[in-house]
């Protein structure tokens, strides 16, 4: 047994130093040198003040902004210090209530809208921090935002098109719109 104990502790200590201290510090050093902005969270600054991250969604409820995915984080939506999904199963009555509630909110804000309801606007994301919506979900909201900002729907559609990203490298993932970036452009180019 003694022939086991010393190697067990020594090898554990050695590999812990290499993988638990040397490795993360090396990655941190390279990251700071080569990709400093990404390593610190891809923050967006306006006049030097951080207003959000390009990768993390924010809660939007005002009619003159595009809204993002419903977020199931507690105690507030888009809580970026406590990520998570609703974990509601497909037959859970609470899921149906939540979806009905989101549909009612959308309809109340834009009663004349007869487009099909985009599924991403009424279902909670996995992280609760999804920064994106589908292009269909953005176009669904054009009429409401145009009215609230007294813009032409055509101009707003063009803005949505400008902020629509295709599949990465033409292959990976789904087409999408970054809601925070779109709203920041909206606020700076078309202030109320």
């Amino acid at each position: 047994m003694t022939t086991l104990v010393r190697p067990a502790f020594s090898i554990f200590l050695l590999l812990t130093l290499v993988t638990g201290i040397g490795y993360p510090l090396a990655v941190t050093g390279i990251a700071k040198l080569v990709f400093p902005e990404a390593a610190e969270g891809s923050l967006i600054r306006v006049d030097g003040t951080p207003v959000g991250s390009a990768l993390i969604g924010q809660s939007f409820t005002a009619p003159d902004y595009f809204w993002g995915r419903p977020s199931a984080t507690a105690p507030r939506p888009y809580n970026a210090a406590a990520s998570g999904g609703s974990n509601q199963g497909p037959l859970n009555p609470a899921l149906m209530d939540a979806v009905r509630g989101h549909i009612a909110t959308l309809k109340a804000a834009d009663p004349g809208n007869s487009l099909p309801i985009p599924v991403d606007l009424v279902t909670a994301s996995g992280s609760g921090l999804d920064p994106h919506i589908s292009p269909a979900a953005a176009h669904y909201q054009v009429a409401r935002v145009a009215r609230a900002r007294q813009l032409s729907p055509a101009a707003l559609s063009a803005l949505v098109a400008e902020f629509t990203e295709g599949r990465q490298w033409g292959v990976f993932g789904e087409p999408r719109v970054n809601v925070l970036k779109l709203n920041l452009a909206l606020a700076s180019r078309h202030p109320d």
Binding site: F12, L15, V27, E40, R167
Partner: protein
């Protein structure tokens, strides 16, 4: 399935197999001690390290000695993770001042990471300090992965050896796998992940001023800080507004790379690979899926090389690939269908089921990720499995129930598949009345006992654990979703723990003394019960002579054997679990049909 889904699946298989082949040859070179690209392994810098650690490099171990070394090494790892969690408040790198973790949660997490399960009863960003994550959890991501790989290498040596009494030196094997295989690949991918937006820093959580006001309800508290309730017992709330968002930070990329490469799966954040700071782009998602299967696929090549017949490795890889394609198509199909109950409300279901999924990944790349992570005993998730459609969730559950042998965890997948291969030749031997042989080794009574233990340990833990949980108040208390889905949450938890997967139907409130204890035990025995049986098998096989193939030998590299192997895996999985599955996702699917 959409064209896009087929394209991604095809591209995935292509890149995976192209990358796995050279890596498998490289791993064989490392484990057989051949010189590597200028690093003189036989001399060089390893010798002083081993002298310092009291390791006699050229002394090989018997299977029992090897098993004791592995057990002791992992026990030390578990104790270190436990200690770090219990003391983190007083240790450095805790800018949020997160308190020490409770004893039962620390116990569960320590076992979880030492067994390569990475079941998470806690939420990372609100529980673990940066030091605990990088010095405790990430270290175990390396070491538990190394453990899995060295065990399968020992088993391969058992097949390859001629009348040998030893199966290698555990200390040398662990050191080499960690330093020459896991570390360099993780380092490269960690940097690539940062380039896409995965964070890597030691900063305190970052406050930002949001563009719009966030509106939400907070519980109203009395003078003593307790929530006020109305006459019906409902919590009274007050509307609250805020324009501050707090972004969780940390050394994520370094942990993320090894989390996927080592098929560990424990997220830095609660949302795991759904979190944009862990998995920011569709490209990182594709890379993460590749990293999960990379070493398990490569080890098939390693196996073929080390037993001196590459066709044997290809046969196993073919069986794994065929089963994987079937499962992936099923999961992507079911998640692509969407929830029919929402269609009744006027919702456009073309994008599929998006509850619990991220827009950038969509239903196809979430279904594919779920298949890979559950087949591979990884357990990372890029979408919430609890919100999958009943049959989509069934695929994830069934994947784990196959015993994590279709690619499977690093090392564990291949040794599990080799155990099934021995089982398959045994069944074939019974049918034709010959003593079964695999790779020239006679399969005898002791070997079959070890095979039976290795195959039966996990179903016993899963079914007994689930039965206890559903019949006790403490077990039922954790259920989040009503009806059969609640039963599935419990079944999924024990399946995930005993098979060392770590993914969850995460609605289950599992951070309680009951579940922390029960699942901790399931993880430990599900891991080391199998490992000890596999090492005993390795020792027994090593001691046998290798008989040359004769006309009566059943070939184990042809189509017939691949079919037999797939049949054995599926049959054992089905016989063990169909009754339990019928009570959960199958009933739920029938209810969905009737409600609709």
């Amino acid at each position: 399935m959409t064209h896009h889904a087929w394209l991604i699946l095809g591209l995935y298989l292509l890149v995976l197999l192209l990358a796995a082949w050279p890596l498998g040859r490289y791993i064989a070179n490392v484990m057989e001690g051949r010189p590597l690209l200028g690093l003189g392994l036989r001399g060089g810098f390893e010798s002083p390290l081993y002298r310092l650690c009291g390791v006699r490099r050229d002394t090989e171990m018997s299977w029992l000695h090897y098993a004791l070394a592995i057990l002791l090494f992992n026990l030390i790892g578990a104790l270190a993770v436990y200690a770090l969690q219990r003391l983190q408040l007083w240790l450095p790198l805790n800018p949020q001042g997160l308190p020490n973790v409770s004893p039962d949660s620390s116990f569960n997490t320590a076992i979880s990471f030492a067994t390569n399960t990475n079941w998470q009863g806690y939420a990372g960003e609100t529980t673990m300090s940066y030091l605990t994550q990088m010095l405790g959890l990430a270290v175990q991501n390396f070491l538990s992965a190394a453990t899995g790989i060295v065990v399968v290498i020992a088993l391969i040596r058992g097949f390859a050896g001629h009348s040998a009494t030893t199966i290698g030196n555990a200390w040398v094997d662990l050191t080499r796998v960690t330093l020459y295989v896991l570390l360099p690949i993780a380092l490269v991918f960690a940097v690539v992940l940062v380039s896409q937006g995965v964070i890597q820093n030691f900063s305190p959580y970052q406050d930002v001023t949001t563009l719009d006001v966030t509106r939400y309800d907070t519980p109203r508290l009395d003078a003593a800080g307790l929530a006020l309730k109305d006459a019906q017992g409902g919590v009274l709330t007050a509307p609250t507004t805020s324009r501050t968002q707090t972004l969780a930070m940390g050394p994520v990329a370094s942990q993320e790379a090894i989390k996927m490469l080592g098929t560990n799966g424990g997220g830095f954040f609660n949302a795991n690979s759904a979190h944009p700071y862990e998995n920011p782009t569709p490209l990182t998602n594709f890379m993460q899926m590749l990293l999960i299967f990379l070493i398990p696929a490569a080890l098939c090549t390693t196996f073929g090389r080390m037993v001196g017949d590459s066709r044997q490795g290809w046969a196993l890889l073919t069986a794994m690939t065929l089963m994987f394609i079937g499962m992936a198509v099923a999961a992507m199909h079911f998640e692509g269908q969407g929830n029919p109950l929402l269609a009744n409300l006027g919702v456009d279901l073309a994008p599929g089921n998006l509850e619990g999924k991220e827009t950038r990944f969509g239903s196809a790349e979430s279904g594919l990720f779920a298949t890979i992570t559950t087949l591979a005993s990884c357990g990372a998730v890029n979408s919430m499995h609890d919100s999958f459609m009943p049959l989509g969730g069934l695929v994830a559950l069934w994947n784990m129930m196959l015993g994590e042998v279709v690619f499977g965890g690093v090392g564990t997948g291949l040794y599990g598949m080799l155990v099934f291969a021995v089982m398959a030749v045994f069944i074939a031997g019974l049918m034709i009345g010959r003593t079964p042989e695999y790779l020239g080794k006679k399969i005898e009574a002791f070997d079959m006992k070890m095979v039976a233990i290795a195959i039966l340990v996990t179903p016993i833990l899963v079914l007994a654990g689930t039965a206890i949980a559903v019949t006790t108040a403490a077990g039922v208390a954790g259920i989040a979703n009503p009806g059969p889905h609640g039963f599935t949450e419990i079944l999924y938890a024990f399946t995930s723990a005993a098979n060392n997967n770590g993914s969850a139907f995460a609605g289950l409130s599992a951070n309680t003394p009951f579940y922390n204890g029960m699942l901790g035990a399931a993880m430990w025995f599900g891991r080391f019960g199998v490992i000890v049986a596999v090492l005993a098998l390795a020792g027994s096989l090593a001691a046998k002579p290798r008989i040359a193939a004769s006309a009566g030998t059943m070939p184990t590299h042809d189509v017939l054997f691949v079919v037999l192997l797939i049949g054995t895996v599926v049959l054992v999985g089905a016989l063990n679990y169909v009754p339990a599955l019928a009570l959960g996702p199958v009933v739920e699917q029938l209810m969905l049909g009737s409600v609709n």
